[in-house]
Amino acid sequence: MEVEITLRVDGTDHRIAIDPRTTLLDLLRERLGTYSPKKGCDLGQCGACTILLDGRRVNSCLALAVAHDGAEIVTAEGLSANGELHPMQQAFIEHDGFQCGYCTPGQVVSAVGMLQEVEAGWPSHVTADVAAEEMSLTDEEIRERMSGNLCRCGAYVNIVPAIRQAAEESGRL
């Protein structure tokens, strides 16, 4: 039985009837033609499908669309404004933070969400003292916080500096 939901995707409102089995990833790609979230593992292990869901980075492959009626979604396509690349996208280009590019939209969205988490003061597994007020976004912190995004080409050595540059530009480092 189909269920009707509404979603705002990259600034555009949609009302759409879906099978309850539909994940946000399949809805975005198969129904709305939003192809930047990629289907890698489809099991929440690779991060290629990462989107911002109501402001937070999540794996869209594990989110049932029916459970997110009324949600606001931002994909890599929706990060840019007025034809200008988002600073994170620009930084990935400048640092050659990819090879085949399949994981890149998920990496970029995840990095944007990750920097918001840092700004909110969230600690990570490698934060020396979780109770500390202050933290610094070291390369070790970037690697740990981005561990949910796999890159099978192994572009990590360029992804980390790209994220560091975007963080510096936004004053978050």
């Binding site: 309850p20 099991l43 594990l62 029916v66 969230w122 600690p123 597994h125």
Partner: protein, 330 residues
């Protein structure tokens, strides 16, 4: 994925009533484990009752100085909470050592407790598994056992519970608040998960229709110096081979009290009561730590593929206790 109906309810009680009338239904919260299992055909509910927006998303101060954590609080929000980070660092560290940033943003406290084992045979529907299909046999025994139990296992099942959070909560004497068809009750976290015995299909003591509404963490002043140490096959985003949650209360070089729990080694978070008893009133020193580890691990029954876990856990526990005793919580 097998078709299912999607249902919402007015409130928690209505959700319990709805699921109680659906013998093959399941509650849906964050869905990070359930949707995964449904895609692979490991579980096939015919109705999902969505409780994510029904149960509490707040962390409340309790009159006794503890915290009540709503079942829908995400792993991210719980780990970021200032009170948790300062009073119960072991809990924040456990949460932050689990899953990925994306998953922690969705996974809830209630769902974390109810996640299923990551035993590869449980996930592989082409192999026998007593947990997935009672009576079909255990493929892990005699198979790949690197991630399997060394404590409390049975001939029916050697799976481990995958949660990091629950290990910290076991050490902290947390209780699980459950709403069932007959009303509300509290279950100590150490009694919430089961050992497999001859019913490995039952992970917990819950009955069908029971809904976790909150987790209570009592005050424990010495937990301000506590920690969670996880050993795994890669630096991040992997399940534990072994893990230790511990807090020590030391005065004048003597251990006054201890809280210790293990992860990755049993069908449930393993509260190390023998090690705790061994440490009480003992000097906070290396030989006492080793003795405590040995007393707890005397009952270990490792398999050919996971014998390494016994010395690994012994060393990990000793390391954590040494660090806590030295006041070096990192």
């Amino acid at each position: 994925m097998k078709p299912f109906r999607y249902a919402r309810a007015e409130d928690e009680a209505a959700a319990v009533a709805t699921l109680s009338g659906e013998p093959h239904g399941a509650f849906l919260a964050g869905g990070t484990n359930l949707v995964d299992l449904m895609k692979l055909g490991v579980v096939e509910p015919d109705v999902l009752v969505d409780v994510r927006r029904l149960t509490s998303e707040t962390i409340e101060e309790m009159p006794d100085g503890g915290l009540r954590i709503g079942a829908a609080v995400t792993n991210s929000d719980l780990a970021a909470d200032r009170r948790v980070r300062s009073r119960y660092p072991v809990l924040a560290e456990a949460l932050l050592s689990g899953a990925s940033g994306q998953l922690r943003n969705v996974a809830t406290v209630g769902g974390n407790l109810l996640q299923r084992t990551r035993c590869v045979y449980f996930y592989d529907t082409t192999t026998p598994c007593n947990k997935r299909q009672p009576g079909s046999g255990c493929s892990a025994i005699g198979g790949y056992t690197r991630y399997h139990a060394i404590l409390g296992a049975s001939e029916a099942c050697i799976a481990t519970h995958p949660s990091d959070m629950a290990v910290a909560l076991a050490a902290l004497d947390a209780t699980v608040v459950v709403l069932g068809p007959d009303g509300e009750r509290s279950i100590p976290l150490v009694d919430f998960h089961r050992l497999p015995g001859d019913e490995p299909e039952r992970d917990t003591v819950l009955s069908h229709g029971d809904l976790i509404t909150a987790v209570d963490v009592p005050p424990l002043p010495f937990a301000e110096r506590s920690r969670y140490y996880k050993v795994r096959d890669r630096a991040s985003y992997a399940f534990a081979l072994v893990s230790v949650a511990a807090a020590l209360d030391i005065a004048d070089g003597i251990v006054r009290d201890a809280r210790i729990a293990f992860g990755g080694v049993a069908h449930k978070p393993w509260r190390a009561t023998r090690a705790e008893a061994s440490l009480r009133d003992a000097p906070a020193a290396e030989d006492a730590f080793l003795r405590a580890a040995d007393e707890e691990l005397a009952g270990a029954q490792p398999l050919p593929g996971n014998r390494f876990k016994v010395p690994l856990l012994r060393n990990t526990l000793t390391l954590v206790l040494r660090e806590l005793a030295q006041g070096d919580t990192r």
